[in-house]
Subunit: 359 residues, 4 copies
């Protein structure tokens, strides 16, 4: 057996741990050849062909290392690939051709929704056998209960909240922390719970600035002169609740992001210094926390199991504590938003956090 | 409503987060009185009565703080309490009397198996209404999928493995790390997976030293002159597999613990420096990691929900991602060992770790 | 002896450790009374008088806690205090009056340059005995070799660089990290050295964007497709080298800060994705690293020694490994910039970092 | 120029950072050849010759990585080398021969006192040009104000103290933490200050158990029912103050180390649970903290400067904030103990820590 492996989309802590687990299982125990493909599917194109054989010695240190040794990119969809002249071409057949040239029996594709969709289409349209491994730092894939990298990102965000807490309290300030989550608020919710945020603003619950301000004032009234607000990248005020995605995006861009928009909305209503921090790419890097290393390792091993069982066209996923496979066709269908009536939101409210819908 | 709250047994990161969540929910939102009882049930005895009223201001900083502000102790079972003269008395009626004197409607008891058993007996025998919150850093309670503190302990153990990896590799050494787990190997297994241990020795799988040595030699043969072995406190060699618990304990004590026993077993078989580190109490302290803060917060809030619903005699637990209540009578019944045929053990083998049953 | 203690200016990790050390030494060992004054000098004003007596029990947990339990503020200079009507008044005499009313023998003032200047003026103009403890997270006070909080801020910045390194490498990106340092580049230089930055842009060395771009291209030429740039808040391009402070500030504001300005300067010159992260207030909070806890403790104890010796009008400082006192009159005189011909800058160049003056 | 580089003695965080800085400076900027020699001087012996050429690409990731990529060993002194038959031979001439065979102009030797002595003797007796880089995690070399790795070890020890603090307080226990320091107590003193230890037991101040017990009782008397004691590996009770080193070592071994000896001494005197943790090798590994990365980088660059200037026979060192060279002959002369009348010891006493000489 000879299998290619690649990583696509934005990086997440744990990608290297998946690669390591797959390579160790596939080469040492199953005796296969594994070829790493660089920069997502792009490493297969003839003009930028970059593939190298991976053995157990290449895996040294990978379990704990952030990023991906295979590189990744958002260069574009092979089915609609940007050419030099600005036009777009379907280059998927070239990928299939490369897979044949390299003598690969199939591809293991670690990546987000986009990567999985391309993988699935490659299999359907061009007969390239694929197995998927889901990756979304936002943890918002319906098909799996959890993804690696998410808890590591939450840890970075929570650490930042802990630090801001100190400085906010010393200065009687309102501190906004913008965290990842363009479409869903899982990181904001989890970090907000873990960091004891007073307000948690997420895309799923458009916030009324007045209600956030009320919470801040209520705290001042009981002698807590500072407040901590965590804001997901995609959180918008209630006034924009019916705006279409493009209009939302425009409003966010105009305000310099979700924290900027929240600051602008709150400033007229709150008589306190307000400061914002945007964590940005810091959330993506660094050594994965232990739970993410374990989950990534399980994903990598089960990916090899799926290949071994000939279960091409499936994607690894975690469900009810067990890692198994699910058809790719189903897997890429749906984003999982925060359940706004779910237990976690209720718990956050129960310890006093507002989502800006109620004070 | 007036409720007492106490913490019993060994401490675990997240105890304070449970207290905080319960107090915030119970006092600010439900308007109850909450009384903290010190040093487990002992703070109720007349001669050492230590109770104090808890309000939201007492909860400042608790979410992120290790240990328990209420204190805890292993002083003894109130139903079989050690007296000054060496004899033992049943003092449970005094506790019930104290609960009445203090006008408490019931007790929220955060603690391990022992604490939950006492709580349940107090309710059955003396009519004291109780709600339980499970706490076991070993994560080995059958009744709940997960307990707070476990992932924090795994993080400490994994950090130690990462550090030992550096020094083992520099010196071509075999490094043993003893981690918590007297009866079950969950911490060793999880940290072993996260830290890339070459051997994972757990109580559930008595190890053959020769097979661990084979693994070490195999690594040397492929140029990896060092090895990392994680050992649970209760791991014993195969020769002791049928020894009764007392004999196991004796053998462990004689060897200075599980790492000492493993070292003594391996030394004659391995031609390399072997060093051992025993992490001990360091694993219990420190700020809980975000996931443990969140789980502890959920437990605290749902404990209040159970009280509010009059569901005395129940214990909070996590099942399939949801926190709810389960009858205490069932909850304390069983320890959950590592599933030796389960996915995690298979995954550990798949990435090359031995459990000492196979090389 | 009865002494007041206050903290002024922006917070820095270690403020609480100074307070703890001073209080323990002064109360337990010397038998003095210590009074904490809130919100810098403002807690002395009659209309917002907030002082409380500090004993050893108030110091529990302070050694490791970020922020300041006394609070701090930038509300204004008592000698030029903003009034409600927009005008400014000299209210220093009120402070001196408060010190007399409270029966304080003197004040220990922990703070930056501004705080020390006010303290010194209070002593000269109104006879209030003061001892100063320097605090500048930027470590740019000429009078002391080092200040607490600096290394903690460097640790936060270095951790961010480590994380950005992972994601930059995975995506072949240029990553800019803006760190504190409006006037001096010590944090950027130290974190740049510790985090292996490819370019370090500091206020002391105006950078030529073309030279930074050359460095980035040189790396790409040898197969390192990513680069890491650390930018101090006050770093400006060479074109602004002769601009006055106001013009520099305007240019920085217009570009959204130093990272924004650097990004705008580099974008036309570099054929790679460039992303920026601004760390902001995250650098100020969190538990001080051990070295900062030790330095802060030494400062607190020596402050008590100075008071005991009647050496009012002095400020604590570290010189050649020893903590002693220096006259406040001298202490507040000068900012210490990065020595652009010094060993650290040379070392940074020697390991390949550019400052934008040479490629 | 062609230079060999090796690391000797126990590992310390920062060794890789020295290697990286030297290689980058020497190869990229100065155009030299650098050869890494494995396992200290042993990699030069013909029967185990392991040398490989080091270039900048070999340095990727080294700045932040613990351990040493060159490996290290305590296999023995080349001037008195253990042979297979149990006898000892002077094999130094073979090293000199190897240096000639490899065409090396000299050696850069990173290591502790032992390594530096061997290096110096190699130069004197066999004319091998050497430059030394000091490494002692204990920070007890008279010739330099500070060594890399020390602050990283202090950080590990302080983190453990912070964690033990939580659990000690929850359980009203006395917790002993044994840290490195066979001959000197710098790590114990620094970590004790940073972690707020109640007692600090170091080799330089033999402790009277009764006085440590008094401190513990004093704390209980004021309601602090727990205490934290940090113990250096070489700390002994006052009764052994005049014992010769062999007798001290025997007493320590018999008691299972310094923490065991302290526990045995305290147990009869203290009415509280006492628990001990021995940190051991965990202190040596892990990524160096930023200050150690910077110091190691400076050492590596200045080592290249010394070579370039032909200053063979010198050792890099830090003095009064500047890194320069000092003759090896002087450098290896003296260990620097904790100054028992110095400021740091006084400061520790001032915040309430006992050294066991006074209560």
């Amino acid at each position: 057996m000879r299998v290619g492996i690649l990583t696509g989309g934005g990086d997440a802590p744990g990608l290297n741990a998946v690669i390591r687990a797959f390579v160790k299982r596939a080469t040492v125990q199953l005796g296969w050849e594994v070829w790493g493909i660089e920069d997502s599917f792009n490493g297969l194109f003839a003009e930028r062909r970059r593939v190298w054989r991976l053995g157990p010695l290449d895996c040294r240190g990978l379990l704990a290392r952030g990023g991906t040794v295979l590189g990744t990119t958002n260069r574009g969809d092979p089915f609609d690939y940007p050419s030099a002249h600005g036009s777009r071409t379907d280059r998927a057949a070239e990928l299939a051709q490369a897979v044949r040239e390299l003598g690969l029996d199939g591809l293991v594709c670690i990546g987000g929704d986009g990567t999985q969709r391309i993988a699935w289409r490659l299999m359907q349209a061009h007969g390239v056998p694929v197995v998927g491994v889901p990756k979304t730092i936002d943890n918002d894939l319906e098909a799996t209960d959890s993804t690696f990298g998410f808890q590591s990102a939450v840890a970075v965000a929570t650490d930042a909240l802990d630090r801001l807490h100190d400085t906010a309290e010393s200065h009687d300030r309102v501190m906004l922390l913008e965290v990842m989550g363009r479409d869903t608020g899982h990181i904001a919710l989890e970090a907000g719970l873990a960091g004891g945020a007073d307000a948690i603003l997420i895309p799923e619950i458009p916030y009324r600035p007045g209600r956030v301000a009320s919470k801040i004032h209520l705290r001042r009234a009981i002698g807590r002169a500072f407040s901590i607000v965590v804001v997901a990248e995609g959180a918008v005020p209630h006034a924009l609740r019916e705006a279409d995605p493009a209009a939302r995006k425009q409003a966010l861009d105009d305000a310099g992001g979700a924290a900027g928009l929240a600051m602008a909305s709150l400033r007229p209503l709150v008589d306190a210094e307000i400061r914002a921090v945007v964590l940005g790419h810091v959330q993506r890097g660094g050594s994965p926390i232990p739970a993410d290393r374990v989950l990534a390792t399980r994903f990598g091993v089960v990916a090899a199991d799926l290949v071994q069982a000939g279960r091409w066209g499936q994607m690894v996923r975690l469900r009810h504590g067990v890692v198994d496979g699910v058809p790719l066709a189903e897997a890429t269908r749906r984003v999982r938003p925060v359940d706004i009536d779910g237990e976690k939101v209720k718990v956050a409210r129960a310890v006093g956090a507002t989502f800006g819908d109620m004070a």
